[in-house]
């Protein structure tokens, strides 16, 4: 029962996406907005020839700090789950 309903929902969602997401913009032929600034001024302002690096570390460096933190969180979580007492430690 729920299984059949789930398929129904999935079908509905796909059809909703079909009429909206496919029309979001024209693939490859739209304005690039904020991105233009990074292309035009990135090298002069931040100094790296890899413009993606300019964004990742300079313009949006705070995101990267967050991203590193997420990975750290996952590591700590995994360590907490698999922690065991070592002989003579702690």
């Amino acid at each position: 029962m729920k299984r059949a309903l789930s398929f129904l929902l999935l079908g509905l969602l796909i059809s909703i996406f079909m009429v909206t997401v496919l029309n979001v913009n024209t693939f490859g032929e739209h304005d690039i907005g904020v991105g233009a600034h990074y292309l035009d001024h990135g090298l002069q302002e931040a100094g790296a020839t890899n413009l993606v690096t300019n964004i990742v570390l300079d313009y949006r460096g705070y995101d990267t700090l967050g991203e590193v933190t997420v990975l750290f969180t996952a590591t700590t979580g995994v360590a907490a789950l698999f922690w065991r007492e070592r002989h003579g430690k702690k």
Partner: protein
């Protein structure tokens, strides 16, 4: 006086604490244990230092890496975000203080403190950010640390709750990322202020808005998305469970207010839906709480139910309603925290969560009992405690908006709350003391301090509600983008159809306490050991005559609930522990939201 870097320090202090505490743990365990408390407290001080400029209407925009807004990331601090962050950090400080004795015997506690700091960092980051993608990143810090904390005990139920939360949370995070991506694809910008000025509510925007509504509603725990909450709050370690139940939904509600109302400007379209879902949440949460016999699970369903009030308040979309909702958010964080800390204190001493196996603990743990009593009176909305003020604002707010049915349901839910807390009080603290708990002692001082402080604040906010309400007013003003004076509504204090005064209420309450106490002193209480031969007729209950009959938690309201068994059968069949069912409801809500929004916009 205030540092220009206070906004970023509010995030960096808990974050650095998360990185310093494992290093300190290699040297000294004692030092590491107090690091989270110090970090949260100093972050809180940073937040308070910004209060005066922000409350006078200034909006602080902190440009990270000195890049101006549409290009770089900004922190955006107005009254709403500062209000949420200060409440969160305050509760986090209490929780960190409580955790020091509570986690003492745990050998893995270093990991716990690290995850704890990261969780607070994530929530604070979500509240202060002014950038959509950055919101997603910090949302994930918050979520991932929560998954890890829920799984932390690595028992059967915590692993199960964590996996279900992770799966549903993962789906929901993807929704949020998709929502951000859809916004970027259309407007090529991620800055919230920039987006707010550009969004035109195309059909793609509606999809994006539905994604956000489901995502934030899930974090808050609105009704068809609440299934994880009742599993996860009890499974997490108590200091976290307290924050999850009280302050964690701050993030969800804050994000609804921030993104849905302020970025999308969809207040008119979404608010009736939110109010309806809020009333449903409120009602079903209480109904489920009535049949629980696990202490923490009971509190969890109440946490869900209290969230309903907040969502109703936000969904009323009137100044009085929103400030009632936000004030209830603050109050809920306080007394829910207090109740969880009391439950934790009981568990700390007797080692079980089952209400049926408790009893008579008031003789051995008087302080905890008093705290629990205050907490349950506050949550049930009994004057003069803080819960009443915000609930009153919501009653009046919904009444004024002519949602009369909602007012009735909200009041009924309050009654349900009170009765289920009577049950918890009766089974855990009153009645006959069990043999095995004869040696139980009250909790250590370090646990009493946060409990006592929160209780005092609960009473203070109930008797003098103007104090916190000035803050709440400004936050409401930020949402509605006008300057609001709820005082104009007189708190609903003196309307033509209703009247109350907090101080009068407090006096009446004190008078009755004194009256009851005097009666109790002058009269002769019948103790269980006394022979009751003088009485005219003896009622035979069962067993030996010098025993109280202790009614277990499971069947106190049997008579009330038995006629509703059909309804409960359905509720139980939905809360069946099956992940696919929960996921079904998430997708169902998404489609419901899309359909609704398409109709409205």
């Amino acid at each position: 006086m205030i540092s220009p870097h206070a906004p970023i320090l509010m995030i960096l202090l808990p974050l650095s604490a998360a990185f310093i505490s494992p290093l300190l743990g290699l040297i000294s365990g004692k030092l590491r244990d107090i690091i989270p408390f110090i970090a949260f407290l100093s972050a809180l001080i940073m937040g308070i230092s910004m209060l005066s400029p922000v409350m006078s209407g200034e909006v602080i925009i902190y440009e990270l890496a000195n890049r101006s807004p549409p290009i770089g990331i900004t922190l955006y601090i107005d009254a709403l975000s500062l209000f949420a962050a200060v409440v969160l950090l305050g509760m986090a400080s209490f929780s960190a203080l409580y955790a020091i004795p509570y986690k003492q015997g745990d050998k893995r506690r270093g990991k716990f403190y690290t995850l704890f700091c990261l969780q607070i960092t994530g929530i604070t980051g979500v509240m202060l950010t002014g950038d959509m993608f950055n919101l997603y990143v910090f949302f994930e810090i918050m979520s991932v640390s929560t998954y890890a904390l829920v799984a932390y005990n690595r028992k059967k139920d915590s692993a199960e709750a964590a996996f279900k939360l992770l799966t549903l949370g993962g789906v929901v995070s993807t929704f949020i990322l998709f929502g951000v991506a859809l916004l970027y694809a259309q407007y090529q910008t991620l800055n919230m202020i920039d987006l707010a000025s550009r969004i035109t509510m195309t059909s793609v925007d509606v999809i994006s808005l539905a994604f956000f509504l489901v995502g934030f509603g899930f974090k808050a725990g609105i009704i068809p998305l609440h299934f994880w909450a009742a599993d996860a709050y009890p499974a997490a370690p108590t200091p976290t469970g307290m924050l999850l139940a009280g302050s964690f939904k701050l993030a969800g509600v804050y994000l609804i207010a921030r993104v849905v109302y302020m970025v999308f400007g969809a207040m008119g379209a979404t608010s009736p839906l939110l109010a309806t879902l809020g009333v449903l949440t409120c009602f079903i949460g209480v109904m489920m709480a009535l049949i629980q016999h696990d202490f923490k699970r009971l509190l969890s369903y109440h946490a869900i139910s209290q969230l309903g009030y907040i969502i109703v308040g936000i969904g009323l979309a009137t100044p009085l309603g929103i400030s009632g909702g936000l004030f209830h958010l603050l109050n809920n964080a306080l007394y829910k925290g207090l109740l969880f800390l009391c439950a934790g204190a009981v568990f700390y001493r007797i080692g079980t969560w089952d209400l049926d196996s408790m009893g008579g603990l008031s003789k051995k743990m008087p302080f905890t009992t008093l705290m629990f009593l205050i907490g349950s009176l506050a949550i049930s909305g009994v004057p003069p405690f803080n819960g009443f003020v915000s609930k009153w604002m919501l009653y009046v707010g919904s009444f004024e908006k002519e949602y009369y049915f909602f007012t009735v349901v909200l009041i009924l839910a309050s009654v349900g709350t009170l009765s289920s807390f009577l049950k918890a009080l009766d089974s855990a603290f009153f009645g006959q003391l069990k043999e095995e708990y004869q040696t139980v002692k009250d909790v250590p001082l370090l646990m009493k301090i946060p409990m006592g402080t929160i209780a005092v604040v609960c009473i203070l906010f109930g008797v003098f509600p103007r104090l916190p309400l000035t803050l709440v007013e400004k936050a409401t003003g930020a949402i509605l983008n006008t300057s609001i004076d709820v005082g104009a509504y007189n708190l609903g204090i003196n309307l033509e159809y209703a009247y109350w005064s907090p101080v009068m209420m407090a006096l009446v309450f004190v008078f009755f306490i004194v009256f009851v106490w005097l009666t109790f002193r002058t009269g002769k209480a019948i103790s269980p050991k006394s022979k009751r031969t003088e009485m005219a007729e003896d009622t035979y209950v069962c067993g030996e005559e010098d025993y109280y009959v202790h009614v277990g938690g499971s069947n106190l309201y049997y008579g009330l609930l038995a006629p509703l068994s059909r309804f409960y059968q359905y509720l139980k069949s939905e809360h069946n522990g099956l992940l696919q069912n929960y996921a079904f409801w998430v997708v169902f809500t998404l489609i419901l939201m899309i359909a609704y929004l398409w109709r409205v916009i």
